[in-house]
Symmetry: C2
Subunit: 137 residues, 2 copies
């Protein structure tokens, strides 16, 4: 997993520093759409000098170039995802849980007018509503 993290970093033109590798590796091993605070807390034990600013900056930087996905599902927290294949996220308005929904077939088949003129770094689909469990109040 560490190797994969290094590969992702270099592939997108980032130097694979200790901190960056740890952050990307964390995303690869936790498909939980973690927030900055969680990532920071989890990594602090292995990298005691780690600064939260570094986590913020690194994630932002990586997302801007498309090396990871920045998910703005709620309006108060930013979540991150190491899986950059286009996919969908369901947010339950009741219990707040965020569920990955698998998309069958190619999401790229969405025929968007003149999409070839745009250079795409990130893309994702957001669905909000009530999850099966919360529907039975």
């Amino acid at each position: 997993m560490r190797e994969k993290a290094i590969q992702r970093l270099t592939e997108y033109g980032f130097r694979p520093s200790l901190q960056r590798i740890a952050i990307v590796e964390y995303l690869f091993t936790h498909s939980t759409h973690p927030v900055v605070d969680t990532i920071f807390n989890e990594l602090s034990s292995s990298i005691p000098t780690l600064s939260k600013t570094t986590v913020y900056n690194t994630l932002k930087m990586l997302a801007e170039k498309g090396a990871i996905l920045q998910l703005n599902i709620e309006n108060n927290v930013t979540r991150y995802d190491g899986d950059i294949k286009p996919h969908a996220h369901f947010k339950c308005n009741q219990c707040g849980k965020i569920i990955d929904l698998e998309i069958q077939g190619e999401m790229k088949n969405l025929s968007i007018k003149e999409i070839e003129k745009y250079k795409i770094f990130e893309q994702y689909y957001i669905i909000k509503g009530l999850c099966p469990f919360c529907q039975e109040k």
Copy 2:
């Protein structure tokens, strides 16, 4: 447009108060994905007693029930959209502009596994990258 706003409100079980009508009507007449501040400022002249909290609360409430769309494209501002047909938004990482991208064909054709178990209130597609203009640096 005022009538359409009232209709949208009652349709989703909200009482059509002066403030609510104005807010929804603003969204209907401005497909610019406005932020709370803009809406508040624009409406203040016609409703001098309007409170920003009302704008916040109203928009949040309406979005939670699917009467309008809450767009969390950037991680620092929430935008709103009166158009609740599923559609896509492109955010240019360079110039920051948000562009509506028309989707041809039914977005609902996205075959998501077990989607019928979920009750959907809001859904939208987000694409980030470089717009045609910014690509020529």
